[in-house]
């Protein structure tokens, strides 16, 4: 489903060039639950952003189910992201001025989903993440684990094939992190492709596949049977 060949990424900032990715070759199948692990600064976020069409590669090929993502123009690129990718962030990135319901509603509005249907989808998503009772609460009044559930519900509402999560447990304690990983597994069971970036091996171990990255290069790819 996702196929990266020879992907590189070079950042230029203040005249200094950083080679964040130095030739990534990677294939991820549909319905997989993959962890990308590596130390801080190894290029995990950069890789995830390229997969998620948040950023463009400097060179190489990225194909997504027949779509040559690296060849899309700006608008098609954005459309591709909207149609296929949802994100979960380390710091949740919820809108603090809207309640949980309105937060989960956002991707549906961006996709012009009619009101009645929005309502149905939102209650399903909230139900799935067991936060239906929080619908009218504001993010600032919720615990970290609850906020991340809202963020996942938001990602789920968009109904994309792929869910990308950058250090989703980075701001949470161990217990909460482990429960959350169960949630991700449940989402994978719904048929979604889930890619989680983490520097924590304990978290990575809960995924079916682990890809180790070091200094912009994949050093290891472990598949559990």
């Amino acid at each position: 489903m996702i196929k990266l060949s020879n992907i590189t990424k070079t950042y230029k900032a203040d005249g200094v060039e950083t080679n964040a990715l130095k030739g990534i070759n990677l294939t991820i199948d549909s319905g997989e639950m993959t962890a990308i692990v590596g130390t801080s600064g190894s290029g995990k976020t950069t890789l995830l952003n390229i997969i998620g069409a948040m950023d463009t590669a400097s060179s190489g090929q990225y194909t997504f189910n027949e779509i040559r993502v690296t060849e899309l123009n700006k608008n098609k690129f954005r459309e591709f992201r909207k149609d296929n990718i949802s994100f979960v962030f380390q710091h949740f990135e919820l809108m603090t001025m809207y309640d949980v319901y309105a937060n989960v509603e956002m991707p549906l509005i961006a996709r012009d989903v009619p009101r009645r249907e929005r309502k149905k989808i939102i209650s399903q998503c909230l139900e799935k993440l067991q936060i239906a009772d929080l619908a009218s609460k504001y993010p600032n009044h919720l615990s970290g684990g609850q906020q991340q559930r809202v963020a996942i519900a938001r990602a789920l509402a968009a109904d994309t094939k792929v869910l990308l999560a950058d250090e989703p447990t980075g701001a949470l304690d161990n217990n909460t992190s482990n429960t959350l990983m169960k949630v991700f597994n449940e989402i994978r069971d719904l048929g979604k492709t889930v890619i989680i970036v983490t520097h924590d091996m304990n978290i990575a171990r809960q995924c079916k596949r682990i890809i180790k990255i070091d200094d912009g290069i994949i050093t290891e790819s472990i598949e559990k049977s």
């Binding site: 948040m54 809108m95 956002m106 509005i109 961006a110 012009d112």
Partner: protein, 410 residues
């Protein structure tokens, strides 16, 4: 249908963005309000000057080219000698029509004082019993073609009794004072209401020499009290002559010298010409000032909106990450912009209106308030939009150039 819903939601998002971050937006709104107020006044002054020009031209072309003022420089006109001087001017046919404006401290014309209170340029006297009157001789009254709505025409009046002074009252007195009413004063003088003037009658501003450059040269007579007198009793006299103005002027100066005092004689035309030059300088100055106000507003507002974009960049990043497009966000910014313009106008216009009503409270300057609504409002509205639009060029460019990943990045 769906797009419409999305736009509505975007509108709602921008609305709550402004409402919930009011403290952040308030600086922006205050700056915009301030420049709206300043620009309003710049334009009001500008249009005020033009309107004064127009009115001057109308006055001059209506046959007032031979009009002017005699001003006593040593304040001796109010005396028996002054009367003798004016007598001579009239008897020798040097001038025949004259008048002036005057203030009368008066205990007997109290109902006139009450009606007039608050409607004259001398609003400083509002609480006292001072009546502002226009004194003129019948010749000037005739010359000015003042329209009498009700009462006796001047040719039908009997001037044989010198202790009886006729009054013509402005339209505002019509239902307050009876026609023919006679007031008896202690000094063996009496006043009789001879008629009422038509609504919106005009007369040339009695203080023309002093106010030419800043106010309307014509004068609405609705609250005026006109006293028909033989000679005015002030140090500044308005006159008209049918002869060559320059010659008349020489004769007046000679006559004054013979009577032992110094007067200045100015023609309306020269006053107008001097005022025109002054006005052009003032207009240039206002233009520059307006430019500075516009420019500094644009700079300040550009900075504020850039800061605002920076503040909200995480939020816009989220919008993009959940599937909204750049256009959606620019739409949101435009909605926000419109909302802030609206709020600024709602703040600025009442203030500008309030200030202008207070500053231009006098009967002679109140026309400036009308200018504000008739001419200034649409222009200021357009300018406010333009300034805001321009001030968003930089922030929107910054927004478009910032990659999504950098927006969410902490």
């Amino acid at each position: 249908m769906g797009v419409c819903v999305r736009n509505l939601k975007l509108l709602k998002y921008s609305f709550s963005n402004v409402a919930l971050h009011l403290y952040r937006n308030i600086q922006y709104i205050l700056t915009l309000s301030l420049s709206i107020i300043l620009i309003s006044f710049a334009f009001i002054t500008f249009f005020g000057l033009n309107s004064a020009y127009d009115a001057c031209n109308r006055v001059l072309s209506a046959g007032m080219k031979n009009s002017g003022t005699i001003r006593s420089l040593d304040h001796k006109l109010i005396s028996d000698k002054g009367l003798a001087f004016l007598d001579e001017l009239q008897n020798q046919d040097i001038i025949d029509s004259f008048g002036s404006s005057d203030l009368r401290g008066n205990d007997i014309l109290t109902d006139l004082v009450d009606t007039q209170r608050g409607h004259t340029q001398n609003y400083g006297y509002e609480l006292s019993k001072v009546l502002e009157v226009l004194t003129m001789n019948p010749a000037l009254f005739n010359f000015c073609n003042i329209n009498i709505d009700e009462g006796e025409r001047i040719s039908n009046l009997d001037f044989s009794d010198e202790s009886l002074i006729y009054l013509y009252l402005g339209h505002a007195y019509k239902n307050k004072v009876e026609l023919g009413k006679t007031y008896q004063s202690n000094y063996n003088t009496s006043y009789k209401v001879a008629g009422f003037l038509g609504k919106d009658s005009q007369w040339i501003n009695p203080n023309i020499a002093l106010l030419f450059d800043s106010a309307k040269p014509t004068y609405n007579l609705d609250y005026a009290v006109i006293m028909l007198i033989k000679y005015p009793n002030t140090d500044s006299i308005f006159f008209n002559t049918e002869d060559n103005f320059e010659e008349t002027r020489k004769l007046i100066l000679e006559a004054a010298k013979a009577h032992g005092f110094t007067v200045a004689v100015g023609s309306l035309q020269t006053v107008y010409d001097t005022a025109s030059t002054d006005n052009e300088i003032l207009a240039d100055y206002i233009k520059q000032l307006t430019g500075i106000v516009l420019l500094s507003s644009i700079i300040i507002m550009s900075c504020l909106s850039t800061v605002m974009i920076y503040y909200n960049k995480a939020q816009y990043g989220i919008f993009l990450a959940v599937g909204f497009s750049e256009q959606d966000i620019i739409k949101m910014l435009v909605f926000e912009m419109l909302l802030k313009i609206l709020l600024s106008l709602m703040l600025a216009f009442p203030i500008a209106r309030f200030l202008s009503i207070n500053w231009f409270a006098g009967a002679e300057t109140s026309f400036i308030n009308d200018i504000m609504w008739d001419k200034t409002f649409p222009i200021v509205l357009a300018v406010a939009f333009l300034v805001t639009l321009v001030s968003w060029i930089i922030p929107i460019t910054i927004f478009k150039k910032t990659p999504v990943t950098k927006m969410i990045m902490r």
